[in-house]
């Protein structure tokens, strides 16, 4: 049985008339278990999760075969897909989709939408079928996602559905509206980890897919790294034994939840994902959990009370299959003692800085792409400053490949004349990866 624990970091003291309570709630999962092979899950004969809610697991590998991939690219993608197949545990349902301006079922081979159960036999067949992949056509990722949704729907016993999506180009054969529509159709049906190969894909577009479908987005510079990355992605998915998990945030009557963000390991604003559990409680799907820690930043606005009064500002719970597995309490206490009320929790300060850092990078790059050098310089300068303040050396190093840093402390920078597009994209994709608070 997976075990969840939580810790709340906050300064609960508010000054007279203060209303806004901020807290970082750290949720840790241990004993999540792994997908267990045939027969190991007790009777169903499929692959299940001893630590999670039971049921079968399904994986769909989506490979871009558009013309831009070229023969070499498709071969590398096939090789990477093959490495991912090696990581899929026997008994897990799987399928391979070849995507261009359409979505074709590469495996299982057949005349109707279907998934196959992993075994030595099907793994081998799947690898052989990858040889059928050939470059050609355009890119319509919405269709690929709809196809994945269609495949998952053919196996009603699935309790965990996960896909890997590889692309190398912009979504040229669909309008943004068409992609949005497709995302709306598949939202909540499965998780997708997205990987962009080379420099021709749009970070913002693929990030939108990953964020909607509770997955990650990353840049793969060249074909060399693809195979390892796919294998690692699949292995990590196999290690996520807890599915059907939801973060719940309660706030008292009359209070307003300002936002709920995941701030570690990556930055994601969950506010828009809220579904009402009851009048005072919102639910936010978290996707599957392995043995890991995730930090959430919760902000609640309260009606102020008299100095000396206190109240509960929020209950933050992790719920699996409808059962509360851990709860953190966020409190508020009004005080006239400035020493108490002026303190900011180091965790809240750190992640507030990291959040601002991410938006400064993204806004700076957007301005740079539009030729607005003044805004780009000022935002990226601010990013350099924040990266220094929050001790994010990785971000500082990525920024230094896009701007020349004159003075990190004041954020004085100059845009570099010649920037490798891949460096810029890496800065963008990595902007949502946060560092944790350094022990002081």
């Amino acid at each position: 049985m997976a075990e969840f624990t939580s810790t709340v970091h906050q300064n609960e003291f508010l000054p007279d008339g203060g209303t806004d309570v901020h807290a970082i709630v750290s949720v840790t999962c241990s004993g999540a278990g792994e997908v267990v092979a045939w027969g190991g899950s007790g009777g169903t004969g499929g692959a299940g999760y001893p630590g999670g809610s039971g049921g079968d697991a399904g994986e769909v590998i989506i490979v871009d075969v558009s013309g831009s991939m070229d023969v070499q690219g498709v071969q590398a993608a096939a090789y990477a897909a093959s490495a991912a197949l090696d990581e899929i545990v026997d008994g897990v349902w799987f399928a391979i989709v070849a995507g261009n301006h359409e979505a074709a079922l590469c495996y299982p081979t057949g005349t109707s939408a279907a998934m196959a159960r992993m075994s030595a036999q099907t793994r081998l067949e799947a690898k052989r079928s990858l040889q059928r992949l050939a470059p050609g056509g355009g890119t319509a990722m919405g269709r690929w996602l709809l196809a994945a949704g269609q495949l998952f729907a053919t196996v009603p016993s699935l309790s965990k559905r996960h896909a890997i999506l590889l692309t190398d180009g912009a979504n040229q054969h669909e309008t943004p509206q068409e992609l949005s529509w497709a995302l709306d159709q598949v939202r909540g049906r499965f998780q997708v980890d997205c990987r962009g190969l080379g420099a021709a894909w749009q970070v913002a577009e693929v990030r939108r897919i990953a964020e909607t479908l509770l997955g990650s987005v990353d840049l793969i510079r060249t074909w060399d790294g693809l195979s390892e990355d796919f294998a690692a992605l699949m292995a990590s998915s196999m290690g996520k034994g807890v599915s059907d998990a939801q973060l719940r945030v309660w706030a008292p009557q009359g209070a307003e939840v300002l936002f709920v963000k995941q701030v570690s390991p990556t930055l994601e604003d969950l506010s828009g994902r809220r579904v009402e559990v009851n009048a005072l409680t919102g639910g936010y799907d978290t996707g599957a959990w392995g043995d890991e820690t995730r930090d959430y930043h919760v902000a609640v606005r309260l009606a102020p009370k008299a100095v000396g009064q206190e109240q509960l500002a929020s209950r933050v719970q992790l719920v699996v299959g409808g059962e509360v597995r851990t709860q953190g309490l966020v409190k508020a206490a009004w005080s006239s003692d400035d020493v108490l009320t002026a303190q900011i929790s180091p965790e809240v300060a750190h992640y507030t800085g990291q959040t601002e850092l991410a938006s400064a990078i993204q806004e700076g790059l957007r301005a740079k792409a539009m030729g607005d050098d003044v805004t780009a310089t000022s935002r990226l300068g601010r990013a350099v400053q924040l990266a220094r303040e929050t001790g994010d050396d990785g971000a500082t190093s990525r920024l230094s490949r896009v701007v020349d840093i004159d003075d990190a402390a004041t954020g004085r920078v100059r845009l570099r004349r010649h920037v490798d597009k891949l460096d810029e994209m890496e800065l963008d994709t990595a902007s949502t990866k946060t560092t944790r608070v350094r022990p002081s």
Binding site: S82, A83, D86, A120, P252, Q253, G308, Q311, L312, L329
Partner: protein, 381 residues
């Protein structure tokens, strides 16, 4: 689903990495395959092999006499325990602000209000002439003051009062102050020389604080201590720290019976005017206290004549901060008494209310014993 012609895969150099176990479908070469396939296929085999010779060495059946009769097996009646009842909703009380229920940690599930802590306001009135009120005040979240009172209407003229003020900078001080007050009361109720009782009581109180502290000597909880034993016309008073005892006769000069162990008091002794010293930044820094990290636990004791009608008053600094001088405090008691009457319980409450009206910056404790009246009715006026 798969193409049957490609299913048992022949070795093909262009094929992607073959999966492990792909050779299994090939016909095994007889003999050669055997040693490779066996260990994986039958794990029990290696253990079974050595077991065979061992079986031959087993003792002959019945060599030690007939086997014991088999115990008759239990016949199962198939009775099932009642299905586990759903965990009953525990009632943790109802919120007075909104009518919602409290959760197990004492927070309202509707409005988030905290369940009132009974410690926030405590009243005690063991007899008609002795009473006290201990209150959180307006500014503090918790009440770290504590009191313990004893009196018996059947033994007029005797009373024991103890007040302790937990040091709020140390954790668990609320628990420590209550344990100290109760431990001291237990000793002071006994008989014998009052001064020895005071020593025993202070030691017992210090032990009680140490017990709460447990192993943690860093940030150990601690508290002040003031106690009074009234026996007929005499009151013996002991104190450590800055909680105080006053004698406020109806007629005559009001007096403070204790001397603070505080930086302010040391400044006064050094010649700084009392008002100035008590308003200074270090005024509330105490130099002696009860706790595992305190220098000593021997209280300063005095004995005072309380034959005349009047009030013996013990208080934490939550009260005397607003009226330190005995004459000022006597005036407050007279003024409050004229409003609420001269019974100890309403008078103690009235004094706490008065301190809260002044700001209630600290926890407030007031313990009162009426002295010198006709012992039969125990009240005054």
């Amino acid at each position: 689903m798969s193409d049957p012609t490609t299913a048992p895969l022949p070795d093909d150099p262009t094929a992607p990495i073959p999966a492990p176990g792909s050779g299994r479908t090939e016909a095994p070469a007889p003999g050669a395959e055997q040693p490779e396939a066996e260990p994986g296929a039958d794990a029990a085999q290696p253990e079974a092999a050595p077991a065979e010779p061992a079986a031959e060495e087993e003792p002959e059946p019945f060599s030690d006499g007939p086997p014991p009769l088999p115990e008759p097996m239990l016949v199962l009646d198939g009775a099932l325990p009642p299905a586990a009842a759903a965990a009953p909703e525990v009632d943790h009380g109802t919120c007075t602000s909104c009518g919602g229920g409290f959760d197990e940690e004492g927070w309202c599930t509707q409005c988030g209000e905290r369940r009132p802590d009974p410690r926030h306001h405590v009243t005690s009135a063991p007899s008609a002439s002795v009473a006290g009120v201990c209150d959180r005040g307006r500014r503090h979240r918790d009440n770290e003051d504590a009191m313990a009172l004893w009196a018996d209407d059947g033994q007029p003229g005797r009373a024991v009062l103890v007040v302790c003020d937990g040091v709020s900078s140390a954790p668990r001080s609320a628990e420590a102050s209550l344990a100290a007050a109760e431990a001291a009361l237990e000793q002071l109720r006994g008989s014998g020389d009052p001064e020895q009782r005071h020593d025993r009581a202070a030691r017992a109180a210090a032990d009680a604080v140490a017990a709460v502290a447990g192993e943690s000597h860093r940030d150990a909880p601690s508290c002040t201590y003031v106690s009074a034993v009234v026996e007929d016309d005499r009151a013996s008073v002991a104190s450590i720290g800055d909680s105080r005892a006053y004698w406020l006769p109806d007629d005559g000069e009001p007096q403070r019976l204790t001397s603070d162990d505080s930086m302010a008091e040391e400044q006064v002794r050094a010649g700084i005017p009392r008002a100035e010293a008590e308003a200074g930044p270090l005024a509330h820094t105490i130099t002696r206290w009860l706790g595992p990290d305190s220098p000593d636990h021997r209280p300063g004791t005095t004995v005072h004549d309380v034959a005349a009608p009047g009030w013996l008053l013990l208080a934490s600094d939550g009260l005397w901060n607003y009226a330190s001088d005995p004459a000022d405090l006597a005036a407050v008691v007279r003024s409050v008494g004229s409003r609420v009457g001269h019974s100890p319980a309403p008078l103690a409450q009235g004094l706490v209310d008065w301190a809260n009206e002044q700001g209630g910056a600290d926890n407030i404790t007031v313990a009162l014993a009426r002295c010198g009246d006709a012992r039969q009715d125990g009240t005054h006026g």
